[in-house]
Symmetry: C2
């Protein structure tokens, strides 16, 4: 196989594993910080690595437009370009392209769209999406899929899912197989069980190194998302990693791991950090609130990273004074916090105590 996935322990549906790539191993369940434009916003690669992240996510849409996939390839690939020598997963670009709406035209062939930067016209087909991710030297390429609108009728969701499955086949055909690199299929089907199962069967027939669940975290809420995961994850091949795209808050991640998810990505820790919101074991903290102005306590007592090192008063001051270091430190803190969470989840699975871990986590939040 192109990527080797091993499962070391299970706890209910949750799995403790490792995914081996040409740039190193990814401990799963894993959280992938988002490095949209070849940078995790505000942080050096060394700072990101210090959080314990094993893998980053890059956005094909942004990188294809600027600096351009061919340019990144000329410069040695994305790892060299951004000085991140651990694994990288790239999305297919489809999600961003299809968000453009008015300036994106969809056909069976693929998507034609105008750049938000200079208005130039670009094409994104399953084959081009694979080529771009090859040029970027991404360890894990994602197939191009159609993003089903939400909510969608069964008929609309079915037609959209079926197109995505045809594109999945074309993506797999276009993927250049090589050691330490792989391609993931993406399950679609909106909130319909029969469609999720049909999608899984289609992907399984094609055969992928991993399977993502797409079309969630689109506003359906945690309860509905968990209901879908209850039937969507068991439909996927057991022996491959399961990746829930675009999720989520700490509670979402714990619940999804309990339902068999191995990989996550989300902008929440960095985006929230930029706006002054921090995650802690007690819940979310808005550091801009005046109550922090004289508080000498650290944000994260007994924790790791800048949340443990700096006082709440100092972080509050940085945000009030609109200083860059505020967003930097809170983004960094949140990434430390997320990796600490994943570490705790992995330890809990190894010990067979994930249920208790979740209960403790939620109880602390409610205090």
């Amino acid at each position: 196989m192109s990527l080797i996935f091993t499962i070391a322990a299970t706890d209910g549906k949750a799995r403790l594993g490792s995914l081996s790539t040409a740039h190193g191993d990814i401990r799963t369940p894993a959280f992938m910080p988002v490095g949209t434009a070849a940078t995790v916003k505000g942080l050096t690669p060394e700072q990101v690595e210090a959080t314990g992240a094993d893998i980053l996510l890059g956005n094909t849409y942004h990188l294809m437009l600027r600096p351009g996939a061919e340019r990144v390839a000329e410069l040695g690939g994305l790892h060299t370009f951004m000085r991140w020598n651990k694994p990288i997963l790239t999305d297919s670009g489809g999600f961003q392209v299809m968000s453009l709406k008015d300036i994106c035209k969809m056909t069976e062939e693929g998507a034609t769209f105008k750049s938000h930067i200079d208005g130039s016209t670009h094409e994104l087909t399953p084959e081009r999406a694979m080529e771009i991710q090859f040029l970027l030297d991404s360890n894990i390429s994602m197939v191009l899929d159609e993003c089903t609108s939400y909510p969608a009728t069964h008929a609309v969701a079915k037609a959209s899912m079926e197109r995505s499955m045809r594109w999945a086949g074309r993506s797999k055909d276009a993927f250049k197989d090589r050691d330490g690199y792989g391609v993931f299929g993406i399950q679609q089907g909106s909130m319909y069980e029969d469609l999720r199962i049909a999608s899984s069967e289609a992907l399984s027939d094609i055969g992928f190194d991993g399977y993502a669940i797409g079309g969630l975290a689109v506003g359906e809420g945690q309860e509905v998302m968990f209901e879908v995961l209850d039937y969507a994850v068991p439909a996927l091949p057991d022996d491959k990693p399961h990746y829930l795209m675009g999720v989520g808050k700490p509670e979402d991640i714990i619940g999804a791991v309990r339902r068999g998810i191995d990989m996550f990505d989300c902008v929440i820790p960095t985006r929230s950090g930029r706006f002054g919101r921090a995650y802690t074991p007690e819940g979310e903290v808005n550091i801009r609130n005046a109550c922090h102005a004289d508080d000498a306590r650290p944000l994260w007592e007994g924790g790791i990273g800048p949340g443990a090192d700096y006082s709440r008063a100092y972080l509050h001051h940085l945000f009030k004074a609109d200083e860059m270091l505020g967003p930097i430190l809170l983004s960094w803190h949140n990434l430390h916090y997320y990796q600490w969470l994943m570490h705790g989840i992995r330890d809990a699975i190894a010990a067979g105590k994930l249920d208790a871990f979740e209960q403790d986590y939620l109880k602390n939040l409610n205090q």
Copy 2:
């Protein structure tokens, strides 16, 4: 003495020395990065320390308004607040206050002004400037002085200088003497030799731990500045550090060291870095220029810090994509570069080769 200054070697008027404070020693000639609002913009204290900086400058005006000197004192002082455990020098706040013009009223007692943040009224007298710097726990306090307009007639410059000397005396009286802490006087007198000499005599009579030269770097140009330094520095006591405020570009610093200056501060490295301008041994580089888009070479071949680690193409991309990491890395590079320059200057003085060092430096620039 409150601060101990030792001179280890001289080369012409240039001096190699060390200034000992309660928070450690400052190797001189020294460049002080500016940490206006209790942060060097965009950088963690660890990153600043990695550049080799021995001392930071903080701005009394900004800190007295936000977060407030009394609050910083409650939180353990500026070192603890911003997690910088090396020496800190603070300015008196006068320069910023007097830049407010329309909302600042000056009398013999001091300045009354309105906050740019919330419009509240504040007073800054020589005594209050000392009190604020004491509350901040600044290792080196600066006397409050009047910023003479430029250009100024001899009569205006004389009256202004004489007020500054009266304020210097009040500042010294208000300064709380303690081991490892000191207060510097500031020479004024615009571009008039007799006034600079009179000012030095007045300061010397009061007696300070160090002597600054104020009222330069106000648009007079390098040639005039050097002319003033030629007579202004020899007028200062020899056995104390000489600090040229607000200077400057690398060439300005080398020329001022040759004229007997021991300490510098300037926003140039961080401000230029935020706007995409980098200093290198070959001169200034505007990383936004299109010529860098495909350039895999580092910004600073054989150098230290991020300029040596990242390609020009990547740095260019970060600025084009408006990513925070661009300003961060170039600010950091420039601070590395400035400390590397100071290191080279100190080595050259020790070897008695500062003239050759300057010639080589200027020759490289012209290539």
